[in-house]
């Protein structure tokens, strides 16, 4: 069964460093998303991406964050100048239309 793949599964970074989280969406999907889940809290929407541009973003997704689809298969989330409060599980998701959205297993980011 096709799945969304994320790397790394866990990353520890020092405050102020830049982090890139990588995702390989399901191959025929057109819509891509990043969500995050702070420990013990709700899953929160960050950004959606379609047709090589951001289609929607939340208030959380400020200038510290950026997304890119550098080639035909990868979708990345870059977090610049990380802060302690960026520690969370980051989920990549993809969908063929917007009707069935599949999530990856997540990248757990710890900022120390």
């Amino acid at each position: 069964e096709p799945e969304v793949t994320q790397t790394p599964s866990h990353q520890v970074t020092q405050m102020g460093q830049e982090v890139i989280l990588r995702c390989v969406p399901i191959s025929n999907h057109l819509y891509f998303y990043w969500y995050r889940q702070i420990l013990g809290q709700k899953v929160e929407f960050l950004v959606s991406f379609y047709n090589n541009e951001i289609s929607e973003k939340s208030e959380i997704f400020d200038d510290q964050f950026s997304v890119e689809r550098p080639d035909g298969s990868n979708f990345t989330l870059k977090i610049r100048s990380t802060k302690l409060e960026d520690s969370a599980m980051y989920f990549c998701a993809s969908s063929e239309s917007s009707n069935t959205i599949y999530f990856g297993e997540g990248s757990w980011l710890t900022v120390v």
Binding site: K42, V43, S55, E56, M89, I101, Y102, F103, G106
Partner: protein, 113 residues
């Protein structure tokens, strides 16, 4: 104010003891209501999408239903492997976008043998 509220927060059942989880929402212009299962430290696993009041979908021991203001996830004769957190999320239309998902806090289900 929460737009998606799930109840109960936690539910403990004996194996075989059927029950229902509730998801109520306040958004207008609902595009879809999604149910996911999440195991600890894992990503949400897609279960169902419901689009209109009266719609029902089933998968193994799970059945999801939708009304105009809430959805129920019915679990029939649960087994210990059904233990997980069940997440509800709504997707609504605004500004012509395809609509992001707004999640509830989830219901943590424990099924004891």
């Amino acid at each position: 104010e929460d737009q998606v509220t799930q109840s109960p927060e936690a539910l403990r059942l004996q194996e075989g003891e059927s029950s229902s989880l509730n998801c109520s929402y306040t958004v207008s212009g609902l595009r879809g209501l999604f149910w996911y299962r999440q195991d600890p430290g894992k990503g949400p696993e897609f279960l169902f999408t419901l689009y209109s009041a009266g719609e029902e979908k089933e998968k193994e021991r799970l059945k999801a239903t939708l009304t105009k203001k809430e959805s129920f996830l019915h679990i029939t004769a649960p087994k210990p492997e059904d233990s997980a957190t069940y997440l509800c999320a709504v997707q609504y239309l605004y500004g012509g976008s395809q609509g992001n998902l707004i999640f509830g806090k989830g219901t943590k289900l424990s099924v004891k043998p």
